[in-house]
Amino acid sequence: MADKFEFARQHKLFSLYTALVVLILAVAIFAPYLAPQDPMAGNMKNVLQTPSAEHLLGTDKLGRDTLSRIIAGTQVSLFMTICLVVLIAAVGSLVGIVSGYFGGKIETVLMRFADMMLAFPGVVLAIAIAGILGGSVVNTILALLTVSWAKYARLVRSLVIKLRHSDFVLAAQVNGTRTKDILRRHILPNVLPMVVITGAMDIGTMMMEIAGLSFLGFGAQPPTPEWGLMLNEGRQYIQTAPWLMMYPGTAIFIVVAVFNLWGDSLRDLLDPRHDNTNR
């Protein structure tokens, strides 16, 4: 056992970003214990208070503590984002593997469908879907899933097509390995790294899109402490209570920035072919 910290020493930046990601995750998980006050408890005597020692980031129109709501929002936003990214990656990979490995009519139909989704600005459709189905956490995820899986399907399919003709897959086929096992043991492990990288790099974008839908009122509904929704509510008080729109936005910005940095460094780590030093 050489050195436990060897890895961290060699990949300083990646380790730093990972630590920050872990920190954010910890805030999300322990949100109920970290929030100084109950994020849902209103107090009509304390409406729209400016930031003070008691309420570090002020209070909103119902007298709820903004800091507590932002901390609680970490949980909501992160949970939604991670669910969404995992679902997109899973659906996209499934479609990609099926169409890449089996080919034929299935592939044509699925890929036409994917092309359709790619040939169209997804946000517009996502707004329409989430809006028409009615704003809720589930519908937001559903809407963004509908418009985002195609990128992954295309990516995975192109990887699988290359793998399908590689020697080890042909060998497995000659050996009479069941298709199910080939897919699980040979195909999946080889496409997974790229899917994980792409997923990690998409976390930030997806978080912003979720917040955007909530901001329009087509996402999480009151009184959920969701950052986009908080911005929507704070927007009406931009003149009297600017902290209501400053701090939730800052929270989104910080978390998105950390995940973007982490995603980029994860790609550099796992995919050495990608030269990111100068270009």
Binding site: D115, M116, A119, A128, L133, F215, V256
Partner: protein, 314 residues
């Protein structure tokens, strides 16, 4: 020519698919359109009246017949009647489209003004402080939700400095600055990187070394030799942006109450004005695809290498 035909076919398939999907959505969505039309018209809703309205609107027919009727109307240029505005959908959409086009045009101008000089600066001074500064700013811009950036600009320039109006009920030059700036900053973060990459690629080409050997000034090399070559790849990107700007800017239009098509659409969704929503989605799909198509054509035309038909499918 074959590629052109395939492309057109793909566009038609996409249009049918997208319209079908939206139509399905409005069909399964909660709420009875007949009741909404009546309520919007201040009628007292009785069961008989509802039944009659449903028949008039063709809502009692099977789903596929309804869809076919709608598509039939579209082919005659009839997108239906907006429930909330009591106007034809096409009229309502074209009202908003003017505002959106103006916003998009100003944004594109801003994008070019911001990203071209910064991208070139960052490439020429590669791995020096200007490069690091530009890259840092572009990273910050990428991680910032654009509607939040819009709110902050609104707060600083609209409320504190009172330089610009907070809301724009009509299309004005003063009102367009802040929303366009918000969109431009967001778009520029992407462009700066692209410009930088493209210029860097060109800087290492033989013709640049040749020009240097002939004793041309760096400035002349940059402006006369590198820039024309670098513009080509950027045109595609710009074209994609136009499509995005015409369609995906609803959030910014809402932030600044800009009278554009996205604003119309969001209100239509809130009012459950389904014909308007369907018309909007379809309209965006058409505009987006036509623009991408034109960009592809212009790209192929501008690049002599592609004119010989070597372009990869994609």
């Amino acid at each position: 020519m074959k590629r052109l035909g395939n492309r057109l076919l793909q566009m038609i398939v996409t249009l049918i698919g997208v319209s079908f999907l939206t139509f399905c959505l409005t069909y399964i969505a909660p709420g009875d359109p007949a009741a909404m039309v009546l309520e919007a018209g201040d009628h007292i809703v009785s069961e008989e009246l509802l039944q009659k309205t449903r028949e008039e609107m063709g809502l009692d027919k099977p789903f596929l017949v309804q869809y076919a009727n709608w598509v039939g109307g579209l082919l005659h240029g009839d997108m239906g009647l907006s429930y909330s505005a009591k106007k034809p959908v096409a009229e309502k959409l074209s009202e908003g489209f003017v505002g959106t086009c103006f916003l998009a045009a100003v944004t594109i101008v801003f994008v070019v003004i911001i990203s071209l000089p910064l991208g070139i600066w960052s490439a020429v001074r590669q791995n020096e402080w200007p490069d690091y500064l530009v890259r840092f700013c572009s990273f910050v811009g990428v991680s910032m939700p654009n509607f939040w950036l819009g709110l902050m600009l609104l707060y600083i320039f609209g409320l504190k400095l009172m330089l610009f109006p907070i809301t724009s009920s009509s299309v004005t030059v003063k009102g367009v600055i802040l929303p366009a700036l918000t969109l431009a900053v967001y778009q520029s973060t992407k462009y700066v990187r692209q410009v930088r990459t493209v210029i860097l690629d060109e800087l290492h080409q033989d013709y640049v070394i040749g020009a240097r050997a002939r004793g041309l000034s760096e400035r002349a090399i940059l402006l006369k030799h590198i820039l024309p070559n670098a513009l080509l790849p950027l045109i595609t990107l710009l074209g994609m942006s136009i499509g995005w700007l015409l369609g995906g800017v609803a959030v910014i239009e809402i932030v600044f109450s800009w009278p554009g098509i996205g604003n119309t659409a969001v209100h239509a969704i809130m009012m459950r004005d389904y014909p308007l929503v369907e018309g909007f989605v379809l309209w965006i799909a058409i505009v987006y695809m036509v623009i991408n198509f034109l960009v592809d054509l212009s790209y192929a035309y501008l690049d002599p290498k592609l004119r010989k038909g070597e372009q990869a499918d994609g």
